[in-house]
Amino acid sequence: MSLLVGNGLTHWFGRELALEGVDLVIDTGEHMAVLGDNGAGKTTLLRILATVLRPTSGQLEIAGLNAFRERRRLRHHVGYVAHATGLYPALTAAENLEFFCDLQDVSRTRVEEALDAVGLTRVARRRAGELSRGMQQRLSIARAILHEPRLLILDEPDASLGDDAAELLTQVMKDKTVVLATHDHALANRLCPRTLVLRHGRSHGTATRLRVVR
């Protein structure tokens, strides 16, 4: 069953074409990587899939619902990790998560579980602003999984994570449908059976076990 169906997704930023007619279908439980150079349109595509950005044209269906009209209902199915962490530096890691628990209407017990899942239990009482970039990234991931979403959208989560990125991400991605944007081909191959390649905003199709020869 397809969880996500995108058709002709196109986005213009003023007069710049960021994304041109991208089609994709993602089945439930699939892990798909999005590869492309900087400026290829990865972030734009991910933001559209996460329903954060509405494309200038194109259709998107998530779980059978029109993604733009039913955004409110879909929100609790989607978890999104952006480039920017979106954390409050003056609040502790735990307080950050507690705040989002309140907004998500999710029990606060999830805070401990999420911190544990990303390995941040030690620093729960430390202010988010004082955490290293890698830890902030993990906290951002923790926030995205608080409400146990079915669809997880990750924009270059490995950028600051370090060597154990693959392990952490494998754990987090288990049993979820995932779209992951990255520069790291090896990581993409390891984590995701399917890959979509973007070049200058256009999709060059998806492939299984894409091997890139350099």
């Binding site: 058709n7 213009w12 003023g14 074409l17 279908v25 509405r54 200038t56 044209s57 199709g205």
Partner: protein
């Protein structure tokens, strides 16, 4: 000449007719002298401006409900033309005030609310100019336009109320002899035509600007199709 140029020329000609009426047909006011002739254009501009801002209001409401790009373009056109007419109103008002009341400005209800009107819609134009073009800019501006339109009568009312707490000098009486009335209605009609033409031309410009930015009415995709995998 294309049709825009033709209509613009016609509107300009009408304004010349109104100008002739103002200076040649209307009698000189007994109390205020020739300065009083400013009144015809001053009040007509004010009415034209309000008309334009009503277009902004309606366009904004329609946009918020339906995301119609056409409504947004009319709103933008109305805002710009409205600010132009408000500027004319304010300047003429000040030129009139100085000889009649002795100062360029008083904080009475009408002047204050006209100034507020100008500030609000200048703000509207700035919001549009300073945001990235697209849906969000249109939405934010629509909200500004709606709040602005509601604010003007509220401000007018507040200041009028405040004046009842602090009584001040009464303003000039508005009774007009027949010739002046005719001149006024003629000028108002011509000004409204001018405003409508200007909004229409501006609407066309906004449409062209949008096309360069690839902003168009949303076209629904006909059928969903499966993507082809790379072999």
């Amino acid at each position: 000449m294309n049709r825009y140029e033709r209509w613009a020329a016609a509107a300009a000609a009408l304004m010349l007719v109104a100008g002739a009426a103002i200076f040649l047909y209307a009698p000189t006011d007994y109390l205020q002298g020739p300065v009083q002739r400013i009144f015809y254009l001053h009040v007509s501009s004010a009415i034209a401006a309000y008309g334009c801002f009503a277009v902004v209001l309606v366009g904004g409401i329609i946009y918020l409900r339906t995301e119609s790009v056409i409504a947004d373009r009319f709103a933008r056109a109305g805002a710009l033309v409205g600010v132009v007419f408000t500027t004319v109103t304010l300047v003429m008002g000040m030129l009139w005030a100085k000889p009649i009341w002795g100062s360029f400005w008083t904080w009475d209800a009408r002047l204050t609310s006209t100034l507020v009107l100008w500030i609000i819609y200048a703000g509207y134009l700035l919001v549009r100019r300073l945001s990235d073009p697209g849906r969000q800019a249109a939405r934010l501006a629509a909200v500004v336009g709606i709040f602005g339109f509601i604010d003007v009568p509220v401000v007018h009312f507040s200041v009028t109320w405040w004046r009842t707490q602090h009584p001040g000098p009464i303003i000039v009486n508005d009774a007009l002899p027949a010739q002046m009335l005719t001149t006024f209605f003629l000028t108002m009609a011509c000004t409204l035509v001018l405003a409508a033409v200007m909004v229409w031309v501006r609407y066309r410009i906004e449409t062209l600007t949008d096309e360069r930015q690839h902003i168009a009415e949303a076209v629904p995709v006909v059928a969903a199709r499966e993507p082809e995998p790379v072999p």
